[in-house]
Symmetry: C2
Subunit: 305 residues, 2 copies
Amino acid sequence: MSLVVVGSVAYDGVETPHGKVDRMLGGACTYISLAASYFTPVKIVAIVGDDFDQQDYDLLASRGIDLSGLERVPGKTFFWAGVYSEDMNDRTTLQTDLNVFAGFNPKLPEHYRTQPYVLLGNIQPALQHSVKQQMKGAKFLGGDTMNFWINDFRSELLDTIRHWDFLLINDSEARLLSGVNHLGRAAEKIMEMGPKTLIIKRGEYGAMLFHPNGYFSVPGYLLDEVQDPTGAGDCFAGGFTGYLAEQGVDPSNGPIDQRLLGRAVVYGSVMGSFCCERFGVDRFRSLTREDIEKRFEEFRNFTSF
Amino acid sequence: MSLVVVGSVAYDGVETPHGKVDRMLGGACTYISLAASYFTPVKIVAIVGDDFDQQDYDLLASRGIDLSGLERVPGKTFFWAGVYSEDMNDRTTLQTDLNVFAGFNPKLPEHYRTQPYVLLGNIQPALQHSVKQQMKGAKFLGGDTMNFWINDFRSELLDTIRHWDFLLINDSEARLLSGVNHLGRAAEKIMEMGPKTLIIKRGEYGAMLFHPNGYFSVPGYLLDEVQDPTGAGDCFAGGFTGYLAEQGVDPSNGPIDQRLLGRAVVYGSVMGSFCCERFGVDRFRSLTREDIEKRFEEFRNFTSF
C-alpha cells in the first residue's frame, strides 16, 4: 500500500543569506517523496535527463523509493535557480530551464495504478488530471498548485481539483483561488470546488486545515536557523500525506477524524521544519524517524495548555 | 486580592471598513480593565477630564471595577482618532489630543498599594516605574510598551522593565527592543533585560510566550468578522493577567507552570478576539464568562491533535 508521488525532479541553484549552492538535487517530487518515505512506501513518477547523477538515484533508492516511474530521456534535467531575500520571506527566480520536463507526460507503471494514495506535485493541471484518470481506484488523492495555474489555467485547474480529496496551498493562493480575503470563507468556497480537506500553509506562522465540520490550526516551529527554505512546502505535503497513508485513511468510510488530520498537519510541519535546516535535501541524508517523533513531541509540548 | 491597572482612559474616533464612530470610550486602561474584570477584581489608576460621561463610569462600575484611582480634573479627556486600512492590518493616526492625560502622574490610593497584581498599560516608562515604586509588595507586575518608548526613551524603558515580571509586546517591538530578528533569540535577549515571562503578540497569527525553560505558541482565532481591532492587544493583556491573578500565581514560589501560562495566553487571545467583534468596548456590554469559556473550549478543539 504505497503513496504515488508525481512532480518535478530537478537541479536547483539556490542562494540564501547563509550560502550559495550552484547545483543540487531538488524538485517538488524529490522533496515530497523523501519526506513521505519516513511514513509509507513511496513510488514516484517524474522525468530526468541523461545528466541525472547516480548519487541522486542512490539517495532516493536508499529511502526505499520505487523509481520504476522515473523516466530517463536524452537531454538535460529541469534546472531552476533563485535567490532569497535577507529575511527569506521572498525569493526571486533567476533561471528556469524546463529542459526534458517540458515533455513530461506522466505514464504510470502498471503496478502503480492500484495504489490507494496519490500526491500530485505542482505541475500543469491537465497532467495532474491525466494521473487521476490512470488511478481510478485511489482512496485519497490530492495535491498542490500555484498562482500561475490559478491565474492562467483556471478552468483547467477547476476541472482537475473537482475530483480531488485534498488540496494543499498557501494563504495567498487560497485567497486568489477563492476570490475571498477571509480565510475561513475562502476555505468554504474552495471546499465547494471539490477537495473536502483543505490545507493552508502559512510559512513561519504555521498551517491550518479545513474540513466540512471544522478546522485545525497549528503555529510554526521556531527553528534555530533557516538555512534554505526551498522545498519546505513540499516536505510539508510529503509528511502530511505520508502520515495519513501510514494510518490507512479511507474517506469512503466516512469523515476523517479531526485529531488524525491535526496530527498529519503537525507531521507536515515537522518535515517542513527539518527541510529548512540544511541546503536542498541535505537534512534527509541523516534524518531518522526518531528525530521526527522527537520534534512531534516538541510540537505537543509548546502547543499544550 | 485585586489586579491594579494603570493607563489611559480616553475617547476614540475610529473608522474601519465596517463603519465609523466619532467618539466612544477607549484607552488602554479601559480595555485592559474590562477584559480582566471577567477573571479578577480590578482597581484602575487613570485620569479623565470633566467631559467624562456618567454612562462610561457606569459601564466600568457595572463590571465591579474599583474607580477610586480614576482622577477627574478640569479639562478634556484624552482623545485619539485613527483610520484602519482595508485589511485592517495597518492604521493611520488622524488626531492625538493628550488633554488632561499630559499631566497624568499616577497616585495610588492607599488600599491599592498592598495588591499583588499590577498591569502597567502603555504609558511613559518613568510613570510606569513610579507605580512600581508605590507597590513594593507586588507579586506579579509587568506591562506593555511601544515603538515610541523603545526608540526615544530606551534607557528609561530599560531601567523600568528591569524590575518587571512580565512584558507584553508585539513581534516588531520585540525585534526593535532586542535588535535581533530571530524571535527566539530576541526573546532570550529581552528576558536578560528583566522580565522572565515575555508575551509576543502576533495579531491574526496568534501569540507566543517565552519563559526561561521554554516557550508556548497558540495560533489566532478565526473570527467571522473583525469590526474594529482597536484595543485587542489591551484586551489580550487584561485576559492574560486577569486569569493569572484569578489563579493566584506567585513567581516567588518558583517558576510558573507552562500549562498555566499557556492557558493565560489562550484566555488573552479569547478576550482579544471578542474585542474585535464590535466597535470600541461594545462587546463587553453583553459578554459573559460563559461566552469566554465556550470560546476557550473552541481554542482547545481547533488546536488539539
